[in-house]
Symmetry: C2
Amino acid sequence: MAFQHLRHKPPRRLQRPRELLVVCAPMRSNVNLSRIARAASCCGLTRMVCTGPVRLDRKIARDGADAIMVESHRTLPPVLKMLRGEGYQLVGLEQTTHSHDLHQYAFQRKTALVIGNERTGLTGELLEMLDDVVEIPVWGPPHSYNVATATMMAMYEYCRQFPQG
Amino acid sequence: MAFQHLRHKPPRRLQRPRELLVVCAPMRSNVNLSRIARAASCCGLTRMVCTGPVRLDRKIARDGADAIMVESHRTLPPVLKMLRGEGYQLVGLEQTTHSHDLHQYAFQRKTALVIGNERTGLTGELLEMLDDVVEIPVWGPPHSYNVATATMMAMYEYCRQFPQG
């Protein structure tokens, strides 16, 4: 069988808008945010909620920087309250007590994936507001995924469960 | 329900060594290689095959740089031949004719995941040597995942299928 490059393959079409939202606590690195923005846009997300100042690096985010609407808020708790009111399931990405293994976790379609800071993760205040927490299994050093890596894996898993949107 | 941080949760134990191998064509960026090395080590991989000079950035790869053995070869075709002789299924990550959707692809346990260059992807010479090609669905701009992002998603999918090794 011959495999031939398909460089300009048209993207898939979602049958309905993605109802996955990425919500980021204050991050140290615009590089991580920009990587998340590119991957999120590739996954068909159109909205990303951030905290504090955000400057996407266009060399990293590419056209994702235009395709995804990045909102910035001063703090997350009021935003999470509002999202819950809109029907979003609030799912944190963290290793905690009662966290679910991402491999087995069944996402709700309308999900806000809440991402913590690179160093400190999700604060206790935010953890208290969540409906669920998912963790990604780790088998080797450094025993933690980079925050953008973990976010991408979680977005991949969500899209696997809802390939049509 | 209260979610409490588990910062020093012990890593999972594999019941058998990982038989997933990441094989990289010559890359432009040691940053991408270093990111792949960190995620690969977290996924329990212990060996990574690269082409050309490699210098892992320890600020990115962290302890993964020690845990994963990085081999460097001048060219990939002889390596792929050897790996096939050792029983590895050679699976490229690319958009090609006859490529399988990663969501539906059933990995063989003994798999060499072959990753192409950031710009040019996998060469025709390498594509001809592969058993299978997998692609990751894309729904939005810039219509292509970063090479490290794509590799991480594929490693995640493999680990999801073989959580015990």
